[in-house]
Amino acid sequence: MPSAYTKPYVSRGTFVPGEGPVPCDLMLIGEGPGAEEDKYGRPWVGKAGRELWRYLFQSTHRTRTSVYATNLVKYRVPEDGDPTPDDIARDAPILAQEVQDVAPEIIVCLGRWSVRRFLGDVDMEVCHGIPRLVGHRCIMPIIHPAAGLHSTEFQGTIAWDFEQLAKLLRGEIEPYGEGGPVDERPNTDYFEADGFTMIADAAVDTEGSVRKPWCVSFTGTPGMACCNRIGGVDFRHIVLHNALHDIGVLRATNCSYDTFDDTMIKAYLLCVEPQGLKALAKRHCGMEMSSYDELVAHANRMKAHQYLRKVLGWLNKQSIKEQSASSTTSSRSRKRTSGRGGRKSSRMRPKGMIKSRRP
């Protein structure tokens, strides 16, 4: 069905409006038109579109005539790059009007730009295939079908996302709140204690490396965990995430165990889950976790500053030594030596330092 939305004053390629029945319970929002869409002035008619309609039909038995399909931006982005904030802002009023008129119960956001328009700065790895309620509308984030054209590995995940959409339409799953799954234990009790020597069943993580282990942390109760710096703990059954790393550190800290599980292998075998612990925990338990890089970022900066100060101090000393050595030689040789040394040291020393030493 042709759209009633008119072309605004900006002109860059073909204006590609949304199309479909108005109102409609299901609205699909992609990122922007591609070459084919630009050519025909209709959304989702290219290769990615053909894939989209196939996924949709196979999971929900809905066709393009029974859904409203549109895009975040209405013009093709040059070289099919990411839409800029200006592109998105330019077409935001049109999209808002479309949403208001179509009044969908479920909005399927295809691709990260479309998802971020409704859910804020989220990671697709974390949120795909998990419906959320924003206001009175359900937002379903789905990986963009074009990703499956670039890497066939994504096809399974996209199909799974559409399967979740079908379950949502059938009422088999309920959407989460706007923020996604909620952390059920926001008040945690994490502490350092070295008194434990025997633990039955626990989830265990290690920090550091085999050469330089830092700690073994473990817990048997959600929201509570203990960090052990001296090791020597005997476990019966442990759950690890990436056992290939942890086993070595456990050995280095004289910890033993009878049997173990590995959540990373479980995520890998499921094929549609992220393998990182942080993404998994955020996706399913709503747990916010900082990354290692974030944790040591400040310390890294401090170390870098210290190191640079040390190097600059050393270079300063070297240049003083060179100058004092050159002043004791004969005037002819001094002239020659200082010429060479001067050039050499000016290469090594930052310009600012040389200037500060000049009268």
Partner: protein, 456 residues
Amino acid sequence: MPVADLDDIPVKDAVEYACRDADATLRINPILDRRIDEMGLRGCYEMDLAVVPMVERMHSVGMLVDRRHLVELDSYLTDLMALEVQAVRKIVGVEINPNSPPQVAALLFEKLKLKPRKRTPTGMNSTQDKVLEAMRNEHPVVGHIIKYREYGTYRDDFCLKMVRLLDEDGRIHPNLGLTRVSSGRLNCKEPNLLGIPVREEMGKLLRSGFVAGPDKTYGSWDLNQIEMREMAHQSRDPVLISRFENDEDIHAATAADVFGKRLEDVSATERYAAKRIGFGVITGITEIGLAEQMALAGAEGWDEQSCGCAIRDYFGIYKYVLQFLHDCRAEARRYGYVRDRWGRIRYLPGVHSDLKWIRAEAERQSHSFKISASAQGVLKKSMAQIWEWWKSDGILGQVEPLLQVHDELLLEVDDDKEFREYLDTGMLHFLCNTTKLRVPIKAKGSYGPDWGSLKD
């Protein structure tokens, strides 16, 4: 530049961070556990879990490297590359950098007027390795450019890179992973030891840089034609099964049938063609693919038509294999995924795509995955048993696992004749008898002072 670690931040923050990871693992475990059971992946999970201790040991033991050998090989490769550049100059009269696509494109398509095959996204004529490989016979200079690039890859990806990765103990501890390849194969990073070419002479030379420690020797055991045996098992093809049972030379016997000759009259090229088809059907070989492979092997007269005939004749002999391929595709179309014999899943929604190349790739994956993942499972089951045997016999230390390369297990072993014989017997027992197929599983082992000296 020094890098900060947990010692450089307040202890409270580090404790909070460490504990949070354990807490997250505890909370995520039951969610994943439930889904593993729902998807029927429990058996597969236990199989993967059982090889973790051996793979972790491979990383911690590492592979001893002859540093001098690698440094010498590096300069040898640099010399070879210079010779290739000289050879190009001698033929065409100009010196080019074979790694520079614009220079190579200008030489091949403007100066020598060769026919371009493909364009890059920026509109240039492509000089990718694949494109050059297809043009190899069109001009002698193409071969030299390919060789230069090959030597460059060996030099830059392996030689000095491996020297830089050496640990204080003189060993490389490769980062092995179990969760990257969909078929369940291992992956290896820093360096990618699984990426060293097996058959080529330069790959062999490179592998010679990995040596056994004092009073140790290298040992290698590999499963013989395990993917073909899996194919026989899963397809239940009576001809293929009887040939494996009678321990015949499968490829020669196939060639005799395909080309209507007596076994003793089959030429090496015909046997090679039958071998390529035999392995190729697993990955869905086409007549174009076979013709390219035969051209690469230097066989003349193998155009697409004759290759197509050979493939059709192959399926005429192994009818059940053809049926098996159809069944795999049907399974993918019905469920949207296929499973290997151990339950591992590969989602293939592309089988329903109306884009031909997506559909063809998914169909090809449907049987390729079933065979290669099942074959990998055979080795993983054996690895778990072998690990238990080493532990219960107390011989861990006398024998150390080093690497699992596709269907081969590489070990470092005490250089003691009696122990070697004992180990050989045990290894062959566990590799051949842990899993039962409709055809016998065969394995063979070999010993040598370094990786390169082991028999292929």
